[in-house]
């Protein structure tokens, strides 16, 4: 079957390749669906605009987004399989479908599909990983560009570069884009790509759901960007009611995009959780599980439990806007506090959804380049699970001055400060692993080490915010902003780059340029700190977040920050240049195991074959046995299987 398709493809003109279930069809059907839905919604709710006192019909806009999303998914072919099953045509035998180790023929065919497979629905976890990498990367750069525009406005203490409305939209877009996209920043590319390889599986538990979770991400990004057409939204990424209820139609885009992302995040969590719990290769005991997989496990647990709350919250906001309910509106008997509680009940686990996989990545990388076993493996696992558990108990520290009942403040102060104990474990693991190691300074190692510096400052500045007396001063100021940029940008994004330089050779089969990588690292590290450290001072000196104007005497400080931010942004361009240069022009093939890692994912050939493993390997030792005398090879790949590199 594959042969005949290849034959016909050779005779077809190039444009015929564009027809079929792919991204182009999805965009066309999505746009068509939007206008159809908007028209139906407009007919459904005649007079809604009059009732609300606006010229916009939110019902129509939400219906447009809904129909557009259905069109997008139909264009990608998500309904083919269910419809085939519905009319009685089973694409796979029932037995094959049950077998978790079988890679379906359809997946194999997709894997052979050349560059076009990245623009289609595919159930190959390796293709989805690469799709995530570039998909999320593009939105990350749009969010970064917004940050540059924000810093441009803040060069002067008065509105100058952008009108106030545009500035507030930029702030909202930057925050929302970054939070939405970075939720999938590590779970998406690296979780999807590496978890099956690390646990000795051939696929994820639910490959079609995996594809679904990816294609919701660009959809959510496009829906969010469509807010620009209605002049954005004024609420920042938190979308507090009643400001959200007062805002114009850009808010609808924010709500709908967050619903899509939250659905995606929930399903990613369930998918990875099931995979890790049920599909580990024989011999891969919990004590041998790579620490990155533990990080993914803890994160998936958070994502599966926290993200549904966001869907519910956003649906209530949607009803408030479109159906005149008043969940969050005081004058109608609702309460803005309901929104704040629900949002932060999701929102605080969310920040650990961002941070935990970063912990996993840096602890995965340190042993390889210190050539030592991971120090205190169990402590690291306990740390991650402890952070995951505690993160559900701390959300009201965002609301210390909100006017909710104050009796519980000591409790939230305690739980918030307790979270620094398991976080401290991760630092102890890193310190123990470096002790008497043979440390090699490769680019991934540099990024991993920088993670610890940044997260140290980010984490400890959080102590100020957890302490109520201090939080009364720092809440809502630039101090908070500097704090979470240190943890998310300095933590997650640096871990992301560590992972990128570390695993991209395996994922793409191409080595990234090391000199450019080092220039990228040093510029990013130095100017990240020069950008965000002064902002702690700005917060202490009475500068609130999200303002376009500020006290004139703070201008030198802000100008310095803006200048540093531009260099930080420039360093990201060096990364992009490195990516294009190495992937497109030089294409220096990567060694199978360039870092001499013992971990399972490095023992498979490059590029990774579609079945991952000829036979399911039997795990015989832990992944971090560096320097252990007579250490067993990490896995037995079976007779006629793959040679085992490393020691």
């Amino acid at each position: 079957m594959t042969d005949t398709t290849a034959d016909t493809q050779a005779h077809r003109p190039a444009w015929r390749g564009l027809i079929g279930f792919n991204l182009l069809t999805a965009i066309l059907l999505g746009i068509g669906g939007f206008y159809l839905g908007a028209w139906i919604g407009g007919k459904m709710a005649v007079g809604h605009d009059y009732l609300i006192g606006t010229d916009q019909n939110d019902v129509g806009i939400f219906m447009g987004f809904l129909f557009g999303s259905i069109g997008w998914l139909a264009g990608l072919g998500f309904f083919n399989y269910p419809l085939q099953r519905l009319v009685g045509r089973a694409p796979l035998s029932a037995a094959a479908e049950e077998d978790m180790y079988v890679v379906p023929d359809a997946t194999v065919a997709q894997h052979e599909g050349g560059i076009g497979r990245y623009f289609r629905l595919t159930t190959d976890h390796k293709v989805v990983g690469i799709q995530y990498f570039f998909g999320v990367g593009i939105f990350f750069f749009i969010g970064g560009l917004n940050a540059m525009l924000i810093r441009t406005e803040l060069l002067t203490p008065h509105e100058k570069a952008w009108p106030a409305g545009q500035y507030i939209s930029l702030v909202g877009l930057h925050g929302t884009m970054m939070i939405m996209m970075t939720s999938a920043f590590i779970l998406g590319p690296f979780g999807n790509y590496l978890v099956p390889l690390m646990i000795g599986a051939r696929r994820l538990a639910f490959p079609r759901i995996e594809a679904f979770t990816f294609w919701l991400v660009p959809l959510a990004g496009l829906v969010l960007l469509s807010a620009i057409a209605w002049n954005g939204f004024p609420t920042g990424w938190t979308g507090y009611a009643p400001l959200a209820d007062q805002a114009r139609a850009g808010m609808d885009a924010y709500i709908f995009a967050f619903i899509l992302i939250a659905i995606s995040l929930t399903l990613v969590g369930i998918n990875l959780l099931t995979t890790i719990l049920t599909m580990r290769a024989p011999g891969l005991t919990w004590g041998r599980l790579p620490i990155f997989v533990w990080g993914v496990l803890a994160t998936s647990f958070l994502a599966a439990l926290a993200a549904p709350v966001l869907v519910a919250t956003m649906l209530m906001g949607l009803m408030d806007r479109a159906a005149n309910t008043s969940y969050f509106i005081s004058s109608g008997g609702g309460s803005p506090y309901l929104y704040e509680n629900l949002f932060w009940f999701f929102g605080h686990p969310e920040v650990y959804i961002l941070a935990l996989p970063g912990f996993g990545i840096v602890l995965e990388i340190l042993p390889v380049f210190a050539r030592k076993p991971l120090w205190g493996y169990r402590l690291a696992v306990a740390g991650m699970l402890g952070v995951a558990f505690l993160s559900f108990l701390v959300w009201q520290h965002h609301l210390f001055v909100s006017g909710m009942n104050a009796s519980l403040r000591p409790f939230y102060m305690l739980t918030t400060e307790l979270i620094s104990i398991p976080t401290g474990f991760i630092f102890l693991n890193a310190m123990g692993t470096l002790w008497r190691g043979r440390i090699r300074y490769t680019v991934p190692m540099l990024f991993a080490l920088a993670f610890f510096f940044n997260f140290l400052i980010g984490g400890l500045s959080g102590i100020f915010l957890s302490d109520v007396p201090s939080d009364v001063t720092t809440h809502g100021s630039y101090f908070v902003m500097a704090h979470f940029h240190y943890t998310i940008m300095g933590g997650l994004v640096f871990a992301f780059f560590a992972a990128t330089y570390y695993w991209l050779p395996k994922m793409t089969g191409v080595t990234l340029n090391e000199t450019l990588g080092k220039i990228h690292f040093w510029l990013a590290f130095v100017f990240f700190n020069l950008t965000f450290f002064p902002l702690f001072a700005a917060g202490f000196l009475d500068m609130p977040r999200r303002v376009s104007t500020y006290a004139p005497w703070l201008q030198p400080l802000n100008d310095f920050v803006s200048a540093s931010a531009y260099v930080l942004g420039f360093s990201m361009l060096i990364f992009v240049a490195n990516l294009i240069w190495s992937l497109v022009f030089v294409r220096q093939p990567a060694a199978e195991n360039p870092w001499m890692s013992r971990s399972l994912e490095w023992q498979v050939p490059t590029p990774v074959p579609v079945h991952n493993f000829e036979r399911i390997p039997v795990i015989t030792a832990g992944p971090y046995e560096y320097g252990v005398p007579n250490a067993q090879p990490v896995a037995d790949f079976g007779a006629g299987g793959l040679a085992v590199a490393g020691k």
Partner: protein, 284 residues
């Protein structure tokens, strides 16, 4: 192996000494040089408590940051691989006593911070200047006799109302020194946050909610009022100055404002703890 083991404590001692020396230099610098500049200053008893909290925490975090940094820098220099050959280090998987010590130390620091923070909040600063909602859990002594001042947030301005002075309304805020003030913060549209920086007061202005924050000013002078919760287009413009004045000056000012207000008081609505916002309308 034996030689390596006997060498091991030397690294530890080296790190310890560097850390002790650096901490001995840094902690006094933090307390005596940086400390006096830490916000929000000492204009009220609440802000004094916050400033002390900030000084203590900065001083406490300094040695913690230093030990991690010293350790990292020392290890990264001393334990770096030489040459191009990749060789493995010693397979140390962990060290029980070190882990236990770390857990105990971090737990002690964290628990004492939480205890001390709670003590400040509940006992010494009584709410620490933060908004506590309509029925405050932590009331300063004499809270019944506090001077009530209503703070009304709206897009994009602050209005102050003095219920004990015939509910006159002003756009400027003056408060008497050495007298407990109860800010009743509320909003008539979206959520704002009343932030009197030097006074150490921050309380969200939420529509339909009477959010109370206590403060006792101790020094005369001007303080800055800002909005600390994103409230739309001109969020950054909700900045005005307030003044702490002597009691007699305050009474004179209040009397003058009441005279000025006499003409508009009939048109102002009656004083209420909260105001039901207008029916919703989408703004620009």
């Amino acid at each position: 192996m034996e030689a390596a083991r006997s060498r091991a404590p030397r690294h530890g001692l080296g790190i310890l000494w560097i850390w002790i020396v650096l901490s001995a230099i840094a902690i006094p610098l933090v307390i005596f040089v940086l400390g006096p500049h830490l916000p929000p200053g000492k204009m009220s008893s609440e802000s004094t408590d916050q400033t002390n909290a900030n000084i203590v925490m900065t001083a406490l975090l300094t040695p913690i940051i230093l030990i991690v940094l010293v350790y990292f820098v020392y290890s990264l220099i001393v334990f770096r691989a030489s040459g191009d050959t990749v060789e493995d280090g010693e397979p140390i998987r962990g060290h029980g006593p070190t882990q236990l010590l770390w857990i105990v130390l971090t737990s002690v620091i964290v628990l004492s911070l939480a205890f001390w923070g709670s003590y400040t909040l509940v006992q010494s600063a009584k709410g620490a200047g933060g908004g506590q909602g309509p029925s405050p859990a932590f009331k300063p002594t004499g809270s019944k006799a506090a001077l009530p001042i209503q703070v009304i947030g709206q897009q994009w301005n602050w209005t102050f109302r003095f219920p004990t002075y015939h509910a006159f309304e002003t756009r400027e805020l003056e408060i008497p020194v050495h007298r407990l003030v109860a800010f009743h913060v509320t909003s008539i549209d979206v959520t704002h946050s009343f932030w009197a920086y030097e006074l150490g007061v921050k309380a969200d202005a939420v529509p339909g909610v009477d959010n109370v924050a206590y403060v006792t000013p101790r020094k005369l002078g001007r303080f800055m009022i800002r909005c600390a919760e994103l409230c739309g287009l001109w969020h950054g413009h909700m900045a005005v100055h307030g003044r702490v004045v002597s009691d007699s000056a305050f009474q004179a000012w209040a009397a003058k404002e009441q005279v000025l207000n006499r003409q508009i008081i009939p048109y102002l609505g009656p004083y209420q703890r909260v105001y039901v916002p207008e029916p919703k309308h989408r703004a620009g």
